[in-house]
């Protein structure tokens, strides 16, 4: 019996999209939806940790923290207070590619959000003090301790990046940065960072929700129109790589972890390419859900892997071949060699055993639900539109991603799988103290 597949979507974005560009270069995207009385405001700045030179790792992210500490017309602590005091929620994230800032508020507070975002885009530097920098440096160092240094396997991502990308490559270092570089961060560097990258012509502003495009365009002009264009924004170092890695790399970490774990990782294709769409569907067939090959064969079948800690996923980076990561953790009494061999065999099977129709439909159905879940909030929609505007020049191109996943064939997956050969693989292994490699 085969499950009837969910209907194929013709578009992944059935809401209206309107765009405008201010004279200073700021791109404005609006997607009206009157369903709920809320608006999402989302800004993508085209600057991430890939722009950081040696010795300044972690600066893009530390800078993101400084953006909440007041600006020309907004006193310290007021940014958060105004947004939460308006009933809104807010946050920001930094990754290798970009930095985004976002808030969702009851619609009557849209103008507040635009005023706050404009003030910190155009007027951060006068408000930036040594005291604020010193404080947020300590906050970020505690973020690093909490997320990476004080948890078992917490530094896996940091290690994998160094193994996947050569020294000097913009993805070689992790966004959180090193303690040494964070300690060395000086105020002038951050003032210069803002002047260089936080420009209207280096950003996309998206508003989604209970508002008309005409209103948003007028408000964008009112609040952002005075901010000056920045000429000659420096590009990040090139992320170009000649192809997949040509020799395997392995690293073994012995430490205070509760069980042996392995990560297999490959550089694949940049997010947004047909090759990466195939990798996305492949990762879902291989390692997403209980019906995936990894789960069925290693957690269920051979029972060598812990069911809660097995899976595969792509990391959606757009400026260089993005990573595919496959991971499994050993069940009690299973040694690391057996586990690693088992995972490698399942990865190899993606090239040698054709993906069945049922496997393909399962993966596409899961991806379809995941897509609509992302689209189910105005914040999710706004972030998606900002991404496609920033990375591909057109927010409307977001509509193609879901149909493109749905058009991936089993041949496409087999072709993609053939590039995941052991010669180009990164293997990162964790062993509990006292175990033999």
């Amino acid at each position: 019996m085969s499950a009837q597949p969910a209907p194929v979507a013709e578009t992944g974005y059935p809401w209206p999209i309107e765009t405008a560009r201010l004279d200073n270069g700021l791109r404005v995207v609006v997607s009206e939806d009157r369903t709920a009385p809320v608006v999402a405001v989302n800004l993508w700045y085209d600057v991430g940790s890939r722009h950081e030179p040696a010795g300044q790792t972690g600066f893009a992210h530390l800078f993101e923290h400084l953006m909440f500490e007041g600006s020309q017309n907004v006193a310290k602590t007021e940014h958060m207070r105004y947004v939460q005091g308006a009933g809104g929620s807010l946050n920001a994230t930094t990754n290798p590619d970009r930095t985004n800032y976002f808030e969702t508020l009851p619609a009557e507070h849209l103008e507040l959000a635009l005023w706050l975002e404009a003030d910190r885009m155009g007027g951060l530097v006068p408000a930036l003090t040594q005291e604020t920098l010193d404080n947020q440096r300590e906050v970020v160092k505690n973020e690093r301790r909490q997320r990476y240094d004080n948890v078992p396997y917490g530094d896996a991502w940091l290690r994998m990046l160094e193994l996947l990308y050569p020294a000097g490559h913009p993805y070689h270092h992790a966004t959180i940065g090193s303690m040494e570089d964070l300690n060395a961060a000086g105020l002038e560097t951050f003032q210069a960072f803002h002047a260089k990258y936080y420009a209207p012509n280096n950003a996309v502003l998206t508003v989604a929700g209970d508002v008309t495009p005409v209103e948003v365009f007028a408000l964008a002009e009112k609040y952002f129109g005075a901010i000056e264009t920045v000429a000659n924004i420096p590009a990040a170092p090139s992320g170009h790589l000649p192809g997949p890695a040509t020799s395997p790399v392995s690293e073994t970490v012995t430490g205070t972890v509760p069980a042996p774990r392995v990560y297999l990782a490959h550089r694949t294709h940049p997010f947004g390419t047909a090759g990466y769409d195939a990798i996305t569907v492949l990762a879902t067939v291989l390692g997403s859900g209980r019906g995936s090959r990894l789960y069925q064969r290693l957690a269920d079948g051979a029972r060598i892997a812990q069911p809660d800690y097995i899976g595969s996923y792509g990391v959606d980076l757009a400026h260089a071949p993005a990573p595919l990561i496959v991971t499994a953790t050993a069940k009690d009494g299973v040694d690391i060699a057996t586990l690693t061999e088992g995972v490698a065999e399942v990865v190899a099977s993606m090239a040698t055993e054709p993906v069945t129709e049922a496997e393909l439909e399962r993966a596409k159905a899961l991806l379809t639900t995941a897509w609509w879940r992302q689209m189910s909030t105005v914040a999710g929609r706004a972030d998606t539109l900002s991404r496609y505007a920033t990375q591909f020049g057109d927010p409307a191109s977001a509509a193609y991603r879901l149909p493109q996943w749905q058009s991936v064939t089993s041949e496409d997956i087999a072709d993609a799988a053939r590039t995941l050969n052991p010669e180009s693989r990164v293997t990162l292994t964790y062993l509990p103290e006292g175990t033999e490699a």
Binding site: A107, N135, N142
Partner: protein
């Protein structure tokens, strides 16, 4: 031209509305549904009165093992076939166990919800529960808990809970059990738990475009083969308050941060002070600009974040503060935290702080409840606590109208800085002397 210097005025607010609620009795069970026209996803959840409090002493974790077993095959298909059928619809089961309920739910494109609900019910009502599978899942769950307990946090949480509610009481043991109690769960524990609690009809929660859904059909699938009466709700446990502060030290050698868990007992969810209590906690440690986050993160830089809240269930509540701070500042972070709790109890809240807390909590009702999944969660709150259909609009109104006097009175009545249990999980060798010198309370080495 320059930046606009003054903060803009607020526009005209559209009236708040919670989605229209429809209730139906179908096939021996109750459906509570919320109409969300135009939504492409729909969510359904089977809410069962089978929370962790129904577990046997020493076998804490039984409900969690059962939750995992639901997907190990049903009486009509094996686990692989079940996974393929469910995931082929784009659905994944989410199961959760809290003190008051056991939930099985999913979100899918609205057109396939009825098929997904039928599969969800098949797992919940008629799991295979093959003894060999149950034992394997039990072992996997014990291992997964051991993995979890290797991270900072779970041991500190367990130490706090045992101290507040008594290590011999179910409410004094971890919600999801610990590695040892989960390892002790037997096949019979799991089958008995299923037989006793998961075969009662419970309540089906539905959120989505009801114009495209047939509640009769959903109810028929969800309640097929179920039976039995609703269970009586037992009374609240009371609010015993300790005579003095104490500090439980949980050793985690090599830790670069100290994990802090502070707490004391508090009233249950139905307490009439629920709204002012919630607002007091928001001012103290809920909002980003809260007193605790401002002092401990934004002024001192001791942490990435700190929060305080009142967790309230049908039978009990507890006030709690949680954070992770750099090892070297463990004692001053604790001293400052206790100081802010004491100040809030003594001086209450200011109108300026409260105005942020009020509008933030009220606004969250719109901002955080956009998706069918979040609305289904809101429906669960109505059912568990017996709240009326107009609860959310009423709550919003109360949040906006509660005065500083009421919130300050709630802080004075329900915060007990001198009765706190302070749990510190960190590198004991590095922090013990400093903690002793700070004289925060008797130091007890916890063997969690």
């Amino acid at each position: 031209m320059s930046l606009v210097a003054t903060r803009p005025e607020t526009g005209e607010a559209r009236p708040y509305a919670f989605p229209e609620i429809r209730r139906a009795s179908v096939a021996g069970g109750e459906i509570v549904a919320a109409h969300m026209p135009g939504h492409l996803l729909a969510s359904a959840s089977l809410l069962l009165d089978a929370g962790a409090s129904r577990e046997t002493a020493g076998r804490e974790g039984t409900a969690g093992v059962l939750a995992k077993c639901l997907e190990e095959g049903t009486t009509t298909r094996d686990s692989a076939a079940y996974a393929l059928a469910l995931e082929g619809l784009g659905a994944e089961l989410s199961t959760s166990v809290d003190w008051d309920s056991f939930r099985v739910g999913l979100s899918v494109p609205v057109g396939v919800l009825s098929r997904a609900v039928a599969l969800m019910a098949e797992a919940a009502r008629a799991p295979r529960l093959d003894p060999a599978d149950v034992e394997r899942v039990r072992d996997d769950e014990a291992t997964a808990l051991r993995m979890d307990w290797a991270q900072p946090g779970p041991r500190a949480d367990a130490a706090l809970r045992a101290d507040l509610f008594g290590a011999g009481e179910r409410y004094g043991r971890p919600l999801n059990g610990d590695p040892a109690s989960t390892a002790a769960v037997t096949v019979e524990d799991v089958t008995t738990f299923h037989e006793s609690w998961l075969k009662r009809p419970g309540v089906l929660l539905v959120a989505g475009d009801l114009d495209r859904l047939d509640l009769e059909e959903l109810g028929a699938a969800a309640f097929a083969g179920s039976g039995g009466d609703p269970l009586p709700v037992e009374g609240p446990l009371g609010v015993p308050i300790a005579g003095a502060r104490r500090l439980l030290l949980v050793d985690r050698p090599g830790s670069v941060q100290s994990t802090l868990r502070l707490g004391h007992r508090a009233p249950e969810r139905a307490h009439p002070d629920y709204v002012p209590i919630t607002l007091a906690a928001t001012v103290l440690g809920g909002a980003f600009t809260s007193r605790l986050n401002h002092l401990i993160r934004e002024v001192k830089g001791y942490t990435y974040g700190i929060r305080a809240d009142f967790a309230m269930t049908r039978r009990f509540g507890r006030f709690g503060v949680s954070s992770s701070v750099q090892t070297a500042v463990t004692a001053p972070a604790l001293t400052d935290t206790i100081g802010e709790i004491a100040r809030t109890r003594l001086d209450g809240v200011t109108e300026e702080e409260l105005s942020v807390a009020r509008t933030w909590r009220a606004g969250s009702l719109s901002v955080d409840m956009q998706t069918p999944g979040s609305i289904a969660g809101a429906l669960a709150t109505l059912v568990i606590h017996g709240l009326p259909d107009d609860y959310y609009p009423t709550l919003r109104k109360r949040l906006l109208e509660t005065t500083a006097e009421e919130v300050s009175a709630a802080a004075a009545q329900h915060l007990h800085p001198d009765a706190l249990t302070l749990v510190v999980e960190g590198d004991a060798a590095l922090i013990r002397d400093e903690l002793a010198a700070a004289k925060l309370g008797e130091i007890i080495t916890s063997e969690v």
